[in-house]
Symmetry: C2
């Protein structure tokens, strides 16, 4: 086989494995799905093909994260360039929320990435992959700096607590919307863009919520 044809065939095989893994991981859980099931769903007779192209399951998860995080990161960078210097909290929250929601919209329907991402984010071992590939990006850190500069003085514990709530919602709100779409269940908003607006509003509320002295700390 000529080198070009071999490269094309390899690329097609890799894509079919990634597609199958993403769907199975989203629907059944990353830990529940074996290489054999991925190979079968990808139409590959040989189970070893998954390991041959992607190494361990961790490597496969990393490849899945990477094929989305690059596009999301690009949008983030463009949005950051537009809002630099803004003192409007909503601008910075837009930079956090919209790149992922826009990316999901661009994938058409159905998508699996939001449900897959929610698992990766909640699993202590897999989360390290997200940190490497995406959560530690300099662009994201600059967005968080811009966001923090718009906030009122907050006790450190409150700031951490609201950061946790924000991160949680950024991952689980799109995952729940994706699940509802996949199951044909009703969604509160008709589009990803409208859902992003709703989440930005909620996050403005979270960050500007009153701070009541707790009974103890």
């Amino acid at each position: 086989m000529p080198a070009k044809a071999r490269t094309d065939r390899n690329a097609a095989t890799r894509t079919s494995i990634l597609d199958a893994a993403e769907r199975l991981f989203a629907e059944h859980g990353v830990h529940e799905v074996s290489n054999r099931q991925v190979a079968d769903a990808a139409g590959q007779g040989n189970t070893a093909v998954v390991g041959y192209h992607f190494g361990t399951k961790t490597d496969l998860v990393r490849a899945l994260v990477r094929r989305h995080s690059e596009a999301i990161e690009r949008t983030r960078e463009e949005m950051l360039a537009r809002v630099a210097g803004s003192d409007d909290l909503r601008d910075w929250l837009d930079c956090l929320v919209r790149p992922t929601f826009d990316h999901l919209a661009s994938l058409g329907s159905p998508t699996w990435y939001a449900r897959f991402g929610a698992q990766v984010m909640t699993d202590p071992a897999l989360r390290e992959i997200l940190v490497d590939e995406s959560l530690g990006s300099p662009v994201l850190l600059r967005i968080l700096d811009g966001l923090h500069a718009c906030l009122p003085e907050l006790p450190a514990a409150v700031r951490r607590e609201r950061g946790d709530v924000g991160r949680h919602l950024l991952v689980h709100v799109p995952a729940e919307r994706e699940r509802a779409l996949a199951e044909g269940a009703p969604t509160t908003r008709a589009t990803w863009a409208a859902a992003a607006s709703g989440l930005v509003d909620v996050l403005v509320g979270v960050w500007l919520a009153p701070v009541t002295p707790a009974p103890d700390h």
Copy 2:
């Protein structure tokens, strides 16, 4: 064996099965744990003992939910009696948040119920059990009525969206705190009571957040 001794032994067996199941479900996932593993962890030689005392896995999950929901429901009822007629949003949010957090505090450390509950809440099939046992309670519905009466006019989609966010945080914030405690990881607040105050603040923010017209609905 006299009837009294037999009843006592049955009660002790049931408790040991419930304790083992709750811990294993919290740590490994409801779907991952077999009756055999529950029986082993409960120190029961005979796997059939789980089925004998609790029927199917769904019945076992229901028994676990029930042994906590009764205490939580009692606190909710007491708090409702105290705030009836209030037009302070925070009072109603206290009724939603504190009974669960107080219950977790009363269990000592470690607890497993919050992580178990988060799974039951997220699993479409198991969620029905929570609806039967707890989410459909008349006390809870009266609290939600009181809460809604304190809110500004909100478009229906926004109200549903914020209700979803609130329910999500009510389940996942305590589950994450419980996980951090179990792993010896730092928590943002030192006590369940302080964590409850923080969540009530966040939920005030969520409900009173601005409403921006979405690009489309």
